[in-house]
Every structure is written in structure tokens, then in C-alpha cells.
């Protein structure tokens, strides 16, 4: 029986927008395929060996939550980076995504160090990017062997993230603000590590994304390139479709 270990990073400090739903989704989709799951909560000061992780998940948090975990994460930075080079699968959301870059310079000028997995940096701004998001991920979807070419979710961030070097965006913005607030690109990909501002949470309504993460983790651990079996996704796809439609009509909130 295949089994995977998920490291859920700082589940207390970094869970603002139902991010736990991402872990719930990964777990359920593994169990439905007969893959057993071990979820390890990695809090501040908890010992963790990243060579034993198959998927690392880091959610979003408030500025305060980020400040609290930044130092602890920085200590783990080299170990996480080493494993990412070896193909460790990561999903980071919003505040977590920012800290996987080089740094986050807040609006007040404070520097929060990141762990530089992504060749990216984030700068706080006065503008808050809030609203439904639809991404065109055609380029990625080809690699995922997915027939669904969109990701859908909700963004809420004032930090603007700029990508450099070998880090590429996850998708093109069809609806929403994106990384830099200019409606161009969203998210980041480096090796098997993903970052995005999308919550909602992102995985339940984007089952192709969830499956891609699981598939990569299985490939890395077992070397099997056989496609995982398809499971009944009618409810997930209906929610995906409805959310894409809603994104076109919903009014954006302003603060």
C-alpha cells in the first residue's frame, strides 16, 4: 500500500482563510485512491526532518502570524530548499507564499526574511487586492495532463510579489489582480513547489491541482509514472464551473 506524509506547517498561526480545507482535500483524495496519509503538524520549535516529507503545506496568515513564524521558518529554510531541489512537493498560500520568496518588505518598511525557495520578493502596498480570481493555466495544465485549463479562487492581499530568474508564474490572470496587482500573472512555480494567493480554499474547487500535487509526490516516492485512477469529481467540477461564472458577475469589495 502506498502512503504519503504531509507536513502541515504552522497550522495555528497560518490558517486564515479556511486553508485547512486544502489538507482535508489532499487527504480525502488520497484515501479514495487507497493511498494512506500521515499528517504531521509542524509548529514553532517542533523538530521536523524534511527528507521524510512528501508534501509540505503552508497556509496564509495575517501580518502578525507571519512575523511570529518568520524566524522559525528561516531556521528550516536550508533543509526545505535542499529537498525542493530534490523534488519535494510544496504548496504555499498567500502569506506562506510570500515567505517562500526572498523577503517581504512591509508597508511600514519592516523586512521579513523569506527562505528563497522562489526567486521572488514581496513589497507591501497601500492597495488591497480583494476579489474572485480566475487563472488561465494552459501551460501548466499540459504538464499536469489536465483537461481543465483554469484555476478559480479568491484573493485578499496587499503585498505585491515580483518574480525573477528561474521562478515562473502559475497562471495568467483572466479575472482578478494577481501577484503585482496589474492583472497579469499569478502565483509561482519552481521545481515541484507552488505558491499562490488563491484561497477559497484553492484545492477543493480545483481537483486537478490537488491531483497533480499527489501525483508528483507519488512519482517522487515510488518512481511509478502510472496515472492515478480517476475518482468521481462531478461535485468538484460543478463548484469550479459555478465559481468561474460567479467571478464574472460578482462585484468586487473595496475597503
Amino acid at each position: 500500500m502506498q502512503s504519503l506524509t504531509i507536513y502541515h506547517m504552522y497550522p495555528d498561526a497560518m490558517n486564515l482563510y479556511g486553508d485547512l480545507g486544502n489538507v482535508v482535500t489532499l487527504r480525502r483524495r488520497m484515501l479514495e485512491r487507497g493511498i494512506s496519509v500521515d499528517i504531521v503538524n509542524v509548529g514553532r520549535g517542533v523538530k521536523a526532518d524534511f527528507s521524510k516529507a512528501d508534501i509540505v503545506f503552508l497556509g496564509g496568515g495575517q501580518d502578525r502570524g507571519q512575523k511570529i513564524i518568520a524566524d522559525d521558518l528561516a531556521k528550516r529554510g536550508p533543509a526545505i530548499k535542499r529537498e525542493v531541489e530534490r523534488g519535494l512537493v510544496c504548496l504555499t498560500i498567500c502569506g506562506g507564499f510570500q515567505l517562500f520568496g526572498k523577503y517581504f518588505k512591509t508597508k511600514e518598511g519592516e523586512m521579513l526574511p523569506g527562505i528563497s525557495v522562489f526567486d521572488a520578493y514581496t513589497v507591501g502596498s497601500d492597495k488591497r487586492c480583494i476579489g474572485n480570481v480566475v487563472l488561465d493555466i494552459e501551460a501548466e495544465a499540459k504538464k499536469w495532463k489536465s483537461t481543465l485549463n483554469t484555476l478559480v479562487g479568491f484573493e485578499n492581499h496587499s503585498g505585491l510579489t515580483y518574480l525573477e530568474g528561474k521562478t515562473r508564474p502559475l497562471g495568467k490572470v483572466k479575472i482578478g489582480y494577481g501577484n503585482t496587482g496589474d492583472r497579469k500573472y499569478e502565483g509561482a512555480v519552481y521545481n515541484n513547489c507552488y505558491g499562490t494567493y488563491l484561497h477559497g480554499p484553492v484545492l477543493p474547487k480545483n481537483p486537478h491541482f490537488a491531483d497533480h500535487l499527489i501525483q508528483m509526490a507519488i512519482n517522487r516516492k515510488y518512481g511509478s509514472w502510472a496515472r492515478m485512477k480517476q475518482i468521481d469529481d462531478r461535485i468538484e467540477l460543478a463548484a469550479h464551473k459555478a465559481a468561474v461564472l460567479r467571478a464574472k458577475t460578482a462585484k468586487t469589495a473595496h475597503i
Binding site: Y17, G18, V24, I68, I130, N156, H199, I235, A238
Partner: protein
């Protein structure tokens, strides 16, 4: 002529025509019109309330608490003006004022209890400041025309720098109409509007600086709220003193960190969410001792009993409501009433005979089936409602309605912080509805609720009919709508003459 007369007249007319054409009670419309004609209408009319106003803000419990205060004060013989059944934005308050004002601007009320949206607090408090107008005979020095603290202006006139005529001196003295500001709690709610939970606290903190004379009535058990009173002495705290109550859920803890220094708080007891008895190990910030408290709390099937303590007095309370959160609402209302010197026996009597507020646990019967509406708009409120539902073991049907309009919060990710997992233990049928019904359907799947008991009907009217049909003869239908879904549902029920229109 003062613009306010024109504003009142135009707004009253708009309200009349709106009602005549059956568009609810006109809701916010009269307020919008009045404010457009006279932006100072709230300040001018509020000025006529002899006993001033109390502002009620916070994430959960505003409506119920404001209603409790209103009823206590009314039973104590006061004429109360509130904005229940309407909007809690500035324009909603203007609408409420207009509806009780004569065309000459006098009010049929002597005290205001305003429920205020958290993000509206800064605007409203500034709004309520009475600006001294240039009288025909006197020119007021520029430094006194500003938004200065009344005490400061007083000080200036005492020192003889300026002599205000008697009428204007009176206005200056009456300038601070805000007698008390109450904050019930601060939870995760509509982050799409406020950005972050911390920002909500910061918005309120900044807003209350503009009303330095107001008494603060604060929830001692919510560290976010209690920290608003740090270093101030004009504060009345309320809280629960009961060692037998503790939270069953680890979910929906929005804030475990000290707002003063950022360290993780130690909890001696946690009642629910981040509400409890806490202390910061680093900076020493801790839960203040509440002057108004509740102990010996018993949560029963249809009611709650508790011993309420007001300083050295106490009374026994039997509240015809469920859920620990309603004890907090009752505590908050008791604190406000005792601040206004209402006797404790009178408070006890009113609270024991309460009827639910608009959409909060309103009961009705349709086609012989019993149903109850619980407004649900954030995880903490949701989990509390679930706690209430789970207090009886009888079979139940649920109608869940999720909308994502502005007033609901456009971000619906909060449903993933709600414990839908417990639903499979309590409901024999679940109907999901609303703009985001597909999201709810998905959430229930991942909560392991069997698809056999779930029906999706996006349209609320159809969903209601289906849910009523599915409700068994001995069952009760629990309806959990978000805000705009609740309004739509109530409109349907008002049309069928099952519920009353709140605005008539």
C-alpha cells in the same frame, strides 16, 4: 433655512413611496437621500436625543444586544430610537432617525441605541460630532471651529480666550452625544471588507479616540476587545465567571496572541473561540476583572439560566434563548442598562421575556411544519448555532443558504472553518441553496455527509418548498442563511403572511 428640514421632508417622501410600491420599508433609501441633502443630518438629529446615544459594535451579537438594551430601556420608561431591522451603516442610522423625526426635526425619542458596523465606526463617530455653526452675530475663532475635544474648548473659553454666546456655549457642552461605546467581540468575519482580523480591532481603536468622553463597555473575555480598554479608566467590563464551562471545539480560534506584544496568550479557561480567561506570559496583559459577570450558567434545551452579578448586586436570569453566546449578549445589555442606572430587577424581568431579533432564531410554521431561522455569517456564529442545534436529539432537516453578495461577505472560504462534519449526526435531510450552493455542496462532501440526504436547489423559494416537504411530521426545519439570503427568505415568508414585516 437649515438644510435638515429639506432632508427630512425628501427622505420621508422617499420612504413613503418606497413602501407604497412594496419595496420593503424603504430600508436605507431615506437615509441615503437625507445624507445627500444634509451630510450632517445624523449629528443634527442625534443632538435632539436628551440622553444621548449608545453605540453597539463588534462581530457577533450586535443586533441581539441592541434589541435587549432597547427593550430594557423601554420597559424602564425611556423612549428609545434604534436602527433594528435596517442597515447598520451610517445611512441606516439616518433612516431610523428620519422615521422618528417630525418634519421640524424634533424626535419622538430621548435615547438612541445604534447598532454600528465595525468598519463604519470611524465615519459614524466623526459624523455624530456636532459642528458649531456660525451664528449671525458671532464669529468663532478658527481654532474653535475645529473638531476639538469639548474639554479643550471649554478650557479655552475658561481662560478667557474667547467668549461664546450662551446658546452656542450650550451646544458646545452638548457636543459629545455619545455616552457609551460597546464592543461585543471581534471575530473573523468578512475579511474581504476589513482585510484582517487585527485591522478590525485597529479600526475600532482609532475610532473611539474621537469619542474620548464615552464610557467603554467591553467584553473582558475577548483579548482583542479588552485590549481596547488598556490604560483607560472609563471602562465597564463584562465577562463570564464559570469554571465548569469550557470550549469543545479547537476550531475558529482567530487569535491566540497578545495584541499588545505579540506573544502567545496562556488560557486558564477557554469558553469558546478565543473567548476566555487569558494572560500574556510576556508583557503581563491579562483579562481584566469584569464588573458585570455571569456565573452558575446552565445551558438547557430551550433556555439558559445564570446568576448575573452587577458589582455588589445580583439577580437570577432565565433567558429564553440557547447558546453561550447569548449569555454574552445578555451581559453586554446588562452592563449598558446598569450604566444607565436601570434597576437590576427591571433588567431581569425584561431579559426573561425576550423575543428573538430579526432573523435570529425566528420561528414560524409553514404547511404545518415547524421551522426556525438562525442567521449564520461566520465560523464562530456557525459553531455556536451548531452547539445549540445539537442540544436536542430529535431528528431534524436543514436548509443551508449561502450567498456571497457584499452584505454577506464576498469571500465564502469561511465555510471551510465551520464544523459541517457534525451535520451527519444530526440531520436526516439537508437542502443547500443560494448563489454559492455548489460550494456548500462541495463542503458537505468533504465533511463526509452522505450525498443521499443532500438536495441542491439554487433558487431560495424552491429550496424552501423542498425543505418543508422533506421535513417529517415530528421534525423541525433548521434554516441557516447568510444575511442577504435571510432577507430574501423573510420576504418570501412576509408575502405568504407567515412572518411580519419588520419595517412596518
Amino acid at each position: 433655512m437649515d438644510k435638515k428640514y429639506l432632508a427630512i421632508l425628501a427622505a420621508k417622501q422617499a420612504g413613503f413611496w418606497s413602501r407604497a410600491f412594496g419595496r420593503g420599508g424603504g430600508g436605507a433609501l431615506p437615509g441615503v437621500i437625507a445624507q445627500r441633502i444634509d451630510p450632517e443630518i445624523n449629528a443634527k438629529l442625534t443632538q435632539n436625543l436628551a440622553k444621548g446615544v449608545i453605540l453597539v459594535t463588534g462581530t457577533n451579537g450586535k443586533t441581539t444586544t441592541a434589541k435587549m438594551i432597547t427593550e430594557i430601556l423601554e420597559n424602564a420608561g425611556m423612549k428609545v430610537l434604534n436602527n433594528s431591522g435596517g442597515s447598520n451603516l451610517s445611512r441606516g442610522i439616518a433612516s431610523a432617525l428620519i422615521s422618528r423625526a417630525s418634519i421640524f426635526g424634533s424626535l419622538k425619542a430621548d435615547i438612541g441605541v445604534y447598532e454600528v458596523d465595525e468598519a463604519t465606526m470611524p465615519e459614524l463617530i466623526k459624523n455624530l460630532k456636532f459642528k458649531i455653526q456660525n451664528g449671525p452675530s458671532t464669529v468663532i475663532p478658527a481654532h474653535q471651529r475645529s473638531d476639538k475635544h469639548p474639554a479643550e474648548i471649554q478650557k479655552n473659553s475658561d481662560s478667557g480666550q474667547a467668549c461664546l454666546p450662551a446658546r452656542q456655549a450650550r451646544m458646545t457642552k452638548n457636543k459629545s452625544q455619545i455616552k457609551a461605546i460597546m464592543v461585543t467581540n471581534i471575530f473573523r468575519d468578512q475579511l474581504d471588507r476589513y482585510g484582517e482580523v487585527d485591522k478590525t480591532a485597529a479600526i475600532i481603536e482609532k475610532a473611539i479616540k474621537d469619542a474620548p468622553d464615552a464610557k467603554l463597555i467591553l467584553n473582558a473575555d475577548d483579548p482583542m476587545v479588552a485590549s481596547l480598554g488598556k490604560g483607560k479608566d472609563n471602562v465597564l467590563y463584562f465577562g463570564v465567571q464559570d469554571t465548569r464551562i469550557s470550549a469543545s471545539s479547537e476550531l475558529a480560534i482567530d487569535s491566540k496572541d497578545c495584541l499588545v506584544c505579540g506573544s502567545e496568550l496562556n488560557y486558564a479557561r477557554r469558553y469558546y473561540g478565543h473567548i476566555g480567561v487569558y494572560e500574556c506570559p510576556n508583557c503581563g496583559f491579562k483579562r481584566p476583572n469584569p464588573q458585570i459577570s455571569a456565573k452558575d450558567i446552565r445551558l438547557e434545551a430551550g433556555s439558559i439560566t445564570a446568576k448575573m452579578i452587577i458589582k455588589r448586586e445580583s439577580f437570577d436570569l432565565k433567558l429564553p434563548m440557547v447558546g453561550l453566546y447569548n449569555i454574552y449578549n445578555a451581559l453586554a445589555a446588562t452592563a449598558a442598562a446598569s450604566f444607565l442606572e436601570v434597576k437590576s430587577a427591571a433588567i431581569a424581568k425584561t431579559l426573561s421575556h425576550l423575543k428573538p431579533a430579526f432573523g435570529r432564531m425566528e420561528s414560524f410554521e409553514k404547511n404545518g411544519k415547524k421551522a426556525i431561522i438562525h442567521l449564520v455569517k461566520n465560523p464562530t456564529g456557525f459553531n455556536q448555532v451548531v452547539e445549540a442545534i445539537s442540544s436536542t436529539r430529535k431528528p431534524k432537516t436543514a436548509l443551508l443558504i449561502l450567498n456571497d453578495n457584499f452584505a454577506d461577505g464576498t469571500d465564502i472560504s469561511w465555510i471551510w472553518d465551520c464544523e459541517y462534519e457534525v451535520f451527519k449526526n444530526y440531520f436526516s435531510n439537508i437542502v443547500v441553496s443560494g448563489i454559492r450552493s455548489e460550494d456548500l455542496r462541495l463542503r458537505l462532501k468533504y465533511a463526509d455527509v452522505s450525498s443521499k440526504i443532500i438536495t441542491v436547489k439554487k433558487d431560495i423559494s424552491e429550496a424552501l418548498d423542498t425543505a418543508i416537504k422533506k421535513t417529517g411530521p415530528n421534525e423541525k426545519l433548521y434554516i441557516l442563511p447568510t444575511y442577504t439570503a435571510m432577507l430574501e427568505l423573510r420576504n418570501l415568508l412576509v408575502k405568504e403572511k407567515i412572518l411580519d414585516n419588520y419595517w412596518t
